[in-house]
Amino acid sequence: MPSENENLDLASAQGKLDKAKGPNYWRSLDELAASKGFEDLLNREFPRQASEWDGGDEGRRNFLKLMGASLALGGLSACTRQPTEHIFPYVNAPESVIPGKPLYFATAFTMSGVSTGVLMESHMGRPTKVEGNPLHPASLGGTDVMTQASVLGLYDPDRSQTLNFLGEVRSYASFLTVVRDVLSGPSTKGGNGVRILTETIGSPSFGAQMKAILAANPQARWYQYEPLGAQNARMGSKLAFGQFVNTYYKFDSADLVVTVDSDFLCMGPASARYAHDFSAKRRVRGDQTSMNRMYSIESTPTPTGAKADHRFRMKPSEVAGFVRALAGSVGVGGSPGSAPSGIPGNGFSAMVKDLQAHRGSSIVIAGDEQSPEVHALVHAINGALGNVGKTVVYTDPIDVNPVDQTADIKALAAELDAGKVEVLLIVGGNPVYNAPAELAFAEKLPKARLRARLGLYDDETSALCQWHVPAAHPLESWGDGRAYDGTVTIMQPLIAPLYAGKSPLEFIAILTEDPEQTTYEAVRTYWMGQHKGADFENWWRKSVHDGIVADTALPAKTATAGAIPPAAVGASGSGLELSFRPDPYIYDGQFANNGWLQELPRPLTRLTWDNAVMISPATAKRLDVDTEDQVELKYGGRAVTGAVWIMPGQPDDSIAVNLGFGRTHAGRAGNGAGFDAYQLRTSNAQVYAAGVELRKLGKKYTLATTQHQSTTAKREVARVGTLAEYQKNPDFAREMGEEVPGKGETIYPETFKYEGYAWGMSIDLGACTGCNACVVACQSENNIPIVGKDQVNRERIMHWLRIDRYYDSDGQDNQKAAENPRTVFEPVACVHCEDAPCELVCPVAATVHDQDGLNNMIYNRCVGTRYCSNNCPYKVRRFNFYLYSDWNTESVKLQKNPDVTVRSRGVMEKCTYCVQRINYAKITAEKEDRKVRDGEIVTACEAACPAQAITFGDLNDPGSRVNKEKKEGLTYALLGELNTRPRTTHMAALRNPNPEIGEAS
């Protein structure tokens, strides 16, 4: 029996009880429980080890030793523990993540240093889909193609996943040690020989960091280079104003637009906003009875030119002359110019007259691919027309450090060549691939002693650097950036870095005193400095949550264009001219490994997986080449081989090639796609090269296009009219085609009443810019697989939504139509016929109607007879001829939308009207005991469309937007004469040609 004060531990207590049996057991248990020693045992915190405490000095020491060791061990394993970094979900503020319920986080997508705000849809911590941020000025809810596709880049299985030193995997710590050692050495004192090469930087915090680094290392140099981007616009502003100035445009106040080789509707970081504003001015509805007018002068056809009311084609070398003539005609720079040769008839004088009549409400805009001289002239013209401050706004530059990037890369190459570079840190970019050809950057780069590269891919440039550090995808790290008007977005990460990637801020922190600082700290500290005050935390939370920092748009500044620059001695002369264009999707090549973008049909050529040598029909005839003929292009002693594509609308005697292809280290999608036109692009021929030789090689190269027929074959499938026609007869579009049978003219009884919801869609051809953002949105929302070039060539592309491009030859003679056609874009997806031909022929009822009128496809029931597709007059059904969906690549699985089935081999699929979104809204509405509100369901395509060409809603709701659209006279049912009664109707496009110019121009 234990004494009152006996110390007890569990072992001894158990020992005491072991001996007792029967009643004795219970008695001793009671005694034990009553003893004070037992009470102590219960109250002691560490019943076992604590006994050591009383075991004298020895025990206590041992205990402390043990504790110390465990602490040390514990500390070791937890030394990467991160401080809490709060991110803020956008719409909902959930107490916890609810499975099946996506969250939206605001962040931004940055290209060429300019950001566009987005909302990322996140399912259980996986970002799956990009949506536009309605609060962000560059988005207003819409997105452009590259932004939409950026989420696939996050999960790209070819992203570099390890930090490499000469191909061997190393730790970041070893990288830090090595580089810090070199940096602290005598040869790099004060930043001597330290060179940093970045792309255009718009991130304020990165800029501040760089400035601090340069201040601490006065000998170090920061170079910026990007092959495309706003280099020419930047240099043009310097030429015009003597300083770098950022320009943006207000298309919502412009009644007249003249573009000079500018694809402002589809290219550039503000294109979504511009398309939004431009189409708003073009939409003739209700009170708005007029529309804007656009003239396009183009050296290569673009979707913007396709939207123009008058499009003039001009060789690249003639553009500057045209702008000079225009400047003269509106009263800047001497005498009025004479009509340039590229514009037939009275086109030029009528355009000038039109511009004069729209002082203050017109825009003349030059494309980024145009020379600085043209940009400077355009600034002068806008100034002369009084547009500045009204439709054209000047601000301070968006870039934190605007420079002449061509000069930068040349200087760096020279320094490399001279062996002056000790340490070269390359942040992003890919100069080995895209630096001007004559610099032979690949040969010079290895002359730097220590080369470290931060990149998403182990690409051409990384291959020549000793160190390759995997970059964090923008969705994996904090950051900040400015939109086209200066509005700041603080980017928040959606997911922890998949491959321990580093952000640019973390990477250059190696040059600071705190090389291990996190991006979060850096960004937050920077903005703490910008927003002083006690409310910082609230301000920070709100800014991160909203995706914009309030009132950060740069103020408009007055800038007056100086004297007209003298005509540059441009590359002119005889022979073919070759203009270098950014690819509309893979841009300068940085998205080359994005399968969605590679397989997205280019707006005009409908080409996938390749670039081409684009030649006008007449020139092709003269050179005796045809589409898919392999040719060699030779310029300045360098040659590349590409395949010809005959491009209606291309000026004669000029060639256009898209950059960004012909990558060798891009990854499985980008390698071997197309040819590398950078090899011909020198620093003095960035815009175009004159005197290019073209030699036919006598071989064929297969190009994969998704549309083989370019005209409508005299069928009224894509209806277009002029504003004048519309004013004369608002129903002209409806009357264009064959008669549509009335309701009830069918042998089948009208069994379906659709008394609840009746979903329908309206697509406005007038607004559609053909940018294809909706197609990528659909692809990422609906888990649509990519199929590869071979399968595209076999006409098995899987896109549920396609944008048909028709060259409209109506009213033009054939020759003219082929040379400079009018173009119309027509998005077509499943139109959800009420009398659907597909449903009738399916032998297993795998495609049926539901009570809301949706034409549903039941994958599980489909046996794959493909009869439905045969009988579909719109040919919008897509069949899994093989197992197209990627069921194996782990990283790609993460991107899949969990609300949509990933289809297997042998089943048919097609547009569902985003049924998962419909059902989500219906369930929400039912829980709240109400009807679904108009606008509550936004299909992926509708959400993405920057021009708001797509409207979806309930046809049974008399006030719905879609009903309003459908009541317009412009609405027509595509192939309505077949009595399919499509739920999706189209609206004819309107053009607003200048009556003074012949309709044929």
Binding site: E795, R805, V844, R861, T865, L883, V907
Partner: protein
Amino acid sequence: MAIPLQPIELPDEVPVGPIIGPEENLTTVTDKLAGIVLRRKTGYGWLMGFGLAFCGTMMLLMAMTYLFLKGTGIWGINMPVAWGFAIVNFVWWIGIGHAGTLISAILLLLNQSWRNAINRYAEAMTLFAVACAGLFPIMHMGRAWLAYWLLPYPNTMQLWPQFRSPLDWDVFAVSTYATISLVFWYVGLIPDAASLRDQAEHRWQQVVYGIMALGWRGSARHWQRYEKASLLLAGLATPLVLSVHTVVSFDFAVAIIPGWHTTIFPPYFVAGAVYSGFAMVLTLMIPVRKFYHLESLVTMRHINNMAKVMLTTGLIVGYGYMMEAFFSWYSTNTYEGFMYWNRMTGPYAPYFWCLIFCNIITPQFLWIKRVRTNLIILWIVSIIVNIGMWLERFVIVITSLHRDFLPSSWGMYYPTAWDWAIYIGTLGLFMTLIYLFMRAIPMITIHELRVLVPGGVRSPQPVQPQPVKNI
């Protein structure tokens, strides 16, 4: 019931010989036909032919295995042209099958006793053609392992096939047709199997043919029941001759695609089927009768008659083409008009004109008696017609689909090596079965031929003739 089994008196203007050679009598007929099966040594010619055909069958199996492993993507089909060789070949094979049923059923009801010599062969050809045809709809499916979903079977999901779909009608039409053809063919085989059993020289032959004969003893009662069953089956099979290809034509006619959506398809398809079927019978019969010395059993009269049927049906098919062209113009429908214009001038125009040559121009030579009685020329004509009828299906399926309503979705179809492998493979399978048939079963119905011999009977106690209409 039983039909007058006497040869029809031929008018003078058909001096192409009798229905059976004058040298034949009851003994020679039986000996000759049973002898081919029982006593004739397996010749090198047979072995070589069979070996070649068997290679084709193996190729088919290999191609099918690869198809089921990889998916229908190995074919040339794509999104505007979702149906390709599989459907072309299906319709072609089904069409070929038609001659057999027509000969065995309709001609039986019409008292055309000349049919007796070619009936068994044609019927066997039908079965094998239908077997080949039946493979295609299954191979054609994206998920072939779920083909049974087209059958109305009770299931826990309470799902039925979608009965408005012509593909489902096909399932019933083709399976009925195959069943009736098989039963009809087998019933006709019973008395001959008994003959073989009785003449067998080996025990195993006796057992095998004995089982096949189902205890046939040739009693009057047997014959009486046999006649009744034959007539009933003929009656059942007759509408099938019309219905099967009518239903197959609905696969196209019910769809809204220009070039498919037309009311003329059912009769025109049936005529085309009989046309191709007779062409195939001729293609096979002309060499077989030569190699097996059957000239006195399958006489020039037969050949001549078959050529005439071919000419007639060929003219109907030609009329069909004319009407298609006429209506595409007369309807003033943009899509219909374009469809025919595209057939004539589009990328597949060579196929179209080849088809016109094969199916319309070539059979015109059959007006000439010397062509009908020249075996070599007739054989070539029959092959051309077979090719023509295959082209017809190709033109209907492919050219209608490849350019339909929206020009943006127009495309092209190019068959792949696998398409060809499967098509040629089914030819191999067909020939394999034909070779086995010729080796194992009297290729001409012995008992039916015996009655054609002057004074011949097939049973010791001829049944009382009764008029057909009483049935």
